[in-house]
Amino acid sequence: MKTGKVIIGANYGDEGKGLFTDYFASQAPEDSLVIRFNGGAQAGHTVVSPDGRRHVFSHFGSGTLLGVPTFLSKFFIVNPLIFVKEYAELAQVSETPPEITIDPNAFLTTPFDMFINQTIEKQRAGKRHGSCGLGINETVTRSLRSPQYRLKSCDVLNSTGLRRRLHELKDSWFKDRLIELKLDPMEEGIQKFVNNTDRIIEEYIKDTQTLIDLATISDRIPPVRQVLFEGAQGLMLDEDRIDQFPHVTRSKTGLTNVLHLAPQFGIEKLCVTYVSRTYLTRHGAGPLEGESDWTLPDSTNIPNQFQGTLRFAPLSLPALEQNIEYDLHRAKNTELDISADLAMTCADQVPVPDTRRMFLTLKHVSFGPTRSSVCQALSSSMR
């Protein structure tokens, strides 16, 4: 029976999904594949290898430093411009070229999506939604509005056609969307962008050509024994979390997409690992219950214009349990064989809470940023 391992963040992101993907991948690096099943360029999964190499993954699976290939599923949102940037960064730390396959149906982010996202988020000033300014929400909005506005990763294979579509988008979607969002097209920043569009489109086309040079566009996944589904963001940011709206992300962060993909790849059994830090963090705006004035070190989450700084709160086990129960509930009608456990990171910063009364087992604990700091939490001494 082919098994899939699923790594899902149980909170607001930043839980340690990268660390655990790297950890599981290291158990069979020659025979694993990482599938990204949600999100896009906004993800930032930090992996530090035991020999000290460090990379923050957004388009690539967190097993990349181990040579594990990546598959970006149709639920992933591809951003060619960030892809090329990240590939160049990876070249600095990776020993071998990363292997990556992209589903032809994955949505494509355009410069227009990014620009609109940044402009509205800037206008929100103190009331920001916590967006990274990479146009994820805009990409989905545009793609779902009408097939004529939708771009998919296979469209990069036809550069002439893509260029034409982008110019069309500029004159149709971009123009209308500015009006819809009550953005003034005569505003200085917008004017500047508009004046530059021809060159921006050309640079973007160049990036898409580099992308097909480096990646394979195909819906066939390489035959491997171990499939790792690497989630992005966290359960509390799922687009279905009405209670958290509008500070949510535009994708399904939990099991939903995995339940859809698994049968397509011949997977019958799923082992889900829900990852949480021993405390709660939140990046960017939105509610954070019990927010405290801690400042714990975190080199990934450098403050930025759009997300601000990382915020901290103590972990509430009942809330954590509720998130996970809610997610597992989605799988109740599936024919897949599903098991779930819990992993906790940052035990070196805040002690591991007593999880004995939770409905699922704490199976792994990490005392540091690398996979060598992960250990199995079998004995009660851990608690």
Binding site: D14, V56, Y87, L157, L214, Q307
Partner: protein
């Protein structure tokens, strides 16, 4: 979350940047890609399917050697992309299955032949991007145009011929004369074996023509052709007759190949040429003035093989 930042201000830099690809180039293929290496290919198939019940295989092989200069890069990186788009859009033949090849000189090159799959959609472009353009070639006054022929004759399996007795189309593109023969030792090195003794290019042509309609397009802008036009043209005419076609403007390769296919499928040359705009129309007419529409009895091709 999120480390890949992008600010509104970054767009100015993006629009103005002189792209620094150095670090990305570290990983870029500087050698023959495994998937395209003939040594790893037992057979390439063009099969009928529910979506493509009447498949027609088409092979376009481009000379990537130094005498083609930047032309090789342009033709392979852009030309073939436009070509397959035109073929899929115009459908000059039923259910086209396109395969592309890049080839060089069997005597001197490290990767004298690279071969994609047969594809029925634009995904072929993904494979084109993996071609390694060696740009070498020897000063031996010919290139190995017979390698694509050998591949087509021995390593392809096409339903068009097997089920419907219809030949595929094979185009080679380049600026030098044909190589005189194919050496068994080269076949061993490039394909991993398969030829008992050396074979003359003419005999190989006879062999490949059993299942393929063979054409060669001479690129007049190539540096070799410009220095020896008569010699090149004569050698190809002698070998292929009207299947040797000259092209004065390499940017019209797609239109030329589509036109050849349309004429071969029985369309009238004048109306095929007219279907293109402006100067393209003239270029096509100029290239194909020696071509005639196919005979009505279904015998395709211009070769007397």
């Amino acid at each position: 979350m999120g480390t890949s930042r992008w600010s509104p201000e970054d767009w100015d830099v993006y629009a103005d940047r002189v792209k620094d690809t150095a670090s990305v180039d570290l990983f870029r293929s500087k050698k023959l890609h495994d998937d395209l290496n003939p040594k790893n290919i037992a057979v390439r198939e063009s099969c009928d399917s529910a979506l493509n019940p009447l498949s027609t295989p088409i092979i376009v092989a481009v000379d990537e050697t130094g005498s083609m200069g930047m032309l090789a890069e342009t033709l392979i990186r852009n030309g073939l992309g436009i070509l397959i788009e035109e073929i899929y859009a115009r459908k000059p033949v039923t259910d086209p299955h396109v395969m592309c090849m890049a080839f060089g000189d069997a005597w001197t090159d490290f990767a004298p032949l690279q071969v994609t799959q047969f594809e029925c959609d634009i995904r072929l472009a993904d494979q084109l991007s993996k071609f390694y353009i060696e740009g070498n070639g020897g000063g031996n006054n010919f290139e190995s145009y017979n390698l694509p022929w050998y591949f087509a004759a021995t390593r392809t399996k096409c339903d068009a011929f097997l089920k419907r007795n219809k030949k595929g189309y094979l185009f080679t593109v380049g600026d030098e004369p044909p190589a005189p023969k194919l050496l068994a030792e080269h076949v061993k090195r490039i394909f991993g074996g398969g030829l008992q003794r050396d074979i003359s290019t003419r005999d190989l042509l006879t062999m490949a023509s059993k299942t393929w309609n063979i054409f060669h397009i001479i690129i007049e802008e190539g540096s070799f052709y410009r220095s020896s036009p008569e010699k090149t043209r004569r050698a190809w005419r002698d070998l292929l007759g009207e299947g040797a076609i000259t092209l004065e403007d390499h940017t019209k390769l797609a239109e030329l190949i589509v036109s050849i296919l349309e004429v071969q499928e029985g369309n009238d040359l004048a109306s095929v040429a007219e279907s293109w705009q402006g100067s393209t129309s003239l270029t096509i007419l100029h290239s194909l003035s020696g071509q005639q529409p196919s005979k009505p009895n279904g015998i395709k091709g211009l070769l007397r093989m």
